[in-house]
Symmetry: C2
Subunit: 397 residues, 2 copies
């Protein structure tokens, strides 16, 4: 049988990241390639205790079908919480619980874009979201990212050149893969341009709670008096990715359409996970976030120190970060980055992700790579960066 | 803001079923409209016990990111189980765990169909799947269903008339909404036609384990020496729908493409639910299925008795069933079915679903409606059917 796939799905190439991740499953490999929360960041005993209570007191609610929009107590709590803590959400907005934040991107794109419509995105950006957009046949137009966020001139050019642009996709805090945070001025600029050109914004904020230095910058969604921002939040980095609980806050008609789309995908999100998340938020949630920030501050500072010590002397540069889980490093001019990544994992058992994977056009030359510091233990980080430094020294001389 | 949605999503009308379900949330309403497993069918204490063990012994596996394909022990166990018990799956097949079986339909359609491509389906069929297909822009072509399954002549005509048909969608066992089971001869016929016209089959089997009378008929997938059948199974009706665990077995290249599509939707299915499902299958699973069949046999037999007693004398007919969760009833010629459904729920607080909801073309006249007997208690069923009989008697005289 000669299988012919849809045009959209045929255009997604098996990603470089998966190749690298294959090697990473070898326990001898130092996994700077993943994006997993640190094992010590999981509030295991509280989840076990909450889960036992739910399965004893309300088992049928946890095991029966639920509403597509999500578990009502969690929806209501999140609406209040986001309004009070982050000034996110208005009377004109609605909230849907999703199976991970990836689903927000897919549902938004599916609801708003026909095949061939354009989605404008930071370039590089999170490969999962890019593939999500590709899977519904959207055309990606990349806008370069600077140390303070999207290049606004390039964004305006992209909007002018693509009258069929439907969405602007951004990760404003500790962007994946670059770790860059968008300045308040640029957030206002992106909002103004989106409004001017009649395009919606998808604001993806999985790492916002993981700021360990500097000051929080309000979400673009806080500016949204025009009903043009779909805001995505997630519990994957602050509670558990395996539970797959996230949410979107957006204009009611858009969330309603996304709900219809979700009904055709997974009907609703796992009920147990929604109930555990709700109960978990009722007590000590802020202290839990504090403890996560302490964990990742320590790991990030260690990682930056190791970069300074082992990579910078070889000519590799990196962008310093104030939060999130990733560092973006760049080889000096003339260096062959893909080969560097491949040799590092194959011959030295240190895995990280070639920057190419995150580009809207993967054929564009790229000398950067992404280092994750939440997955490996401190010991593995120290060992891995020593090895990487030695290899880089040889490779780049 | 004037929101413009994608063509595919604009074509999905807020379904009649949702209108009816709104009324059903009133606890005074008898819910023949839902499709929920009976509360007594949930193995609550075993799930609680397994869950506690998992969260104590392997919490990080349950809470961390998992593979898109699914939890490996569950995948391997299911492959063996399906092969040994149902002769499903070959060397050329692969298996993916999905977030409910709805996701199988969506992933298959997304992987294989461009907007405008045709999916041929039994008519009526499950509205969730039809909307799933509509959401990716597929055009639905309905083939009438007979008491022994799809009309094969109509199927061949549909295949001839639609060279861009990519999939044939069927629920061969206790079809939703009609309760019809496809004969072995017709299964062979559907397979032969699919092969002849180079079209894949999506075989959706959520109710297969709920046969309480008659003999099991092998799945179409057991015929699949050509790699043309994607088989979908689910734990929603035999363990818990709230957990959202299902799977697809299909040709390896197709499952691989569906895996890429799933990665762009929810990355992977809730890990806890996959682990609970795996552990649950290790002990007493067959006895559990036996106990479910006993529960639903009793409820189905009661429901058929109540139909004979209260509906048949008014001129309403129904198709007898040997399994599943639904009965398909039809008003006598000339009767206004939509008004019958609306008045029943609004004025008599008995909810069921107008057959129109399940049609590929909802503008076609229809006199049938779907009655579910797993959701209401026996007492509610008896009361509801008495009320419905009385109302039908008035309405149809």
């Amino acid at each position: 049988m000669d299988y012919r796939f849809s045009d959209a799905m045929s255009n997604i190439s098996p990603s470089a990241i998966r190749e690298i991740l294959k090697y990473s499953s070898d326990p001898a490999v130092v996994p700077f390639s993943a994006g997993n929360p640190a094992p010590e960041a999981f509030p295991v005993s509280r989840i076990a205790e909450i889960s036992a209570r739910i399965l004893s007191e309300r088992p049928i609610t946890a095991l029966q079908y639920g509403a597509t929009e999500g578990y009502q107590p969690l929806r209501e709590h999140l609406c209040r919480y986001l309004k009070e803590k982050h000034r996110i959400g208005s009377e004109a907005d609605s909230l849907i619980i999703t199976t991970g934040a990836q689903q927000v991107m897919e549902l938004a794109a599916k609801s708003l874009c026909n095949a061939g419509d354009v989605i404008i995105t930071e370039d590089p950006s999170f490969i999962g979201s890019l593939n999500s957009f590709r899977s519904i046949g959207a055309k990606l137009v990349g806008v370069p990212i600077r140390p303070d966020g999207m290049d606004l001139e390039a964004l305006e050019e992209a909007l002018k050149a693509n009258p069929n642009a439907k969405l602007i996709y951004t990760i404003p805090n500790f962007q994946n893969p670059t770790g860059v945070t968008m300045s308040w001025e640029k957030r206002q600029g992106v909002y103004a341009l989106a409004k001017q050109y009649g395009v919606l914004i998808v604001e993806d904020n999985p790492y916002g709670d993981l700021r360990f230095a500097g000051e929080d910058i309000p979400a673009i969604k806080t500016l949204d008096t025009d009903g043009i921002v779909i805001y995505a939040g997630s519990f994957s980095k602050v509670l558990s990715p395996g539970m797959r609980v996230a949410y979107a806050v957006g204009p009611e008609p858009v969330i309603r359409k996304m709900t219809v789309a979700k009904q055709g995908e997974d009907v609703h999100t796992n009920m147990w996970a929604q109930m555990v998340t709700y109960e978990f938020m009722q007590e000590g949630f802020e202290q839990h976030l504090d403890s996560l920030r302490a964990i990742y501050r320590k790991k990030a500072e260690l990682m930056m120190r190791l970069c300074d010590e082992h990579l910078v002397p070889t000519g590799i540069t990196y962008l310093p970060i104030e939060g999130g889980l990733f560092l973006w490093a760049t080889l000096p001019e003339g260096a062959d980055m893909p080969r560097f990544c491949t040799e590092a994992v194959k011959e030295h058992k240190v895995a990280f992700v070639p920057g190419t994977a995150f580009l809207t056009d993967q054929s564009v030359p790229c000398r950067s790579f992404r280092l994750n510091f939440s997955t490996p233990t401190d010991e593995a980080m120290i060992r891995g960066m020593q090895i990487l430094g030695k290899f880089a020294h040889e490779y780049l001389k």
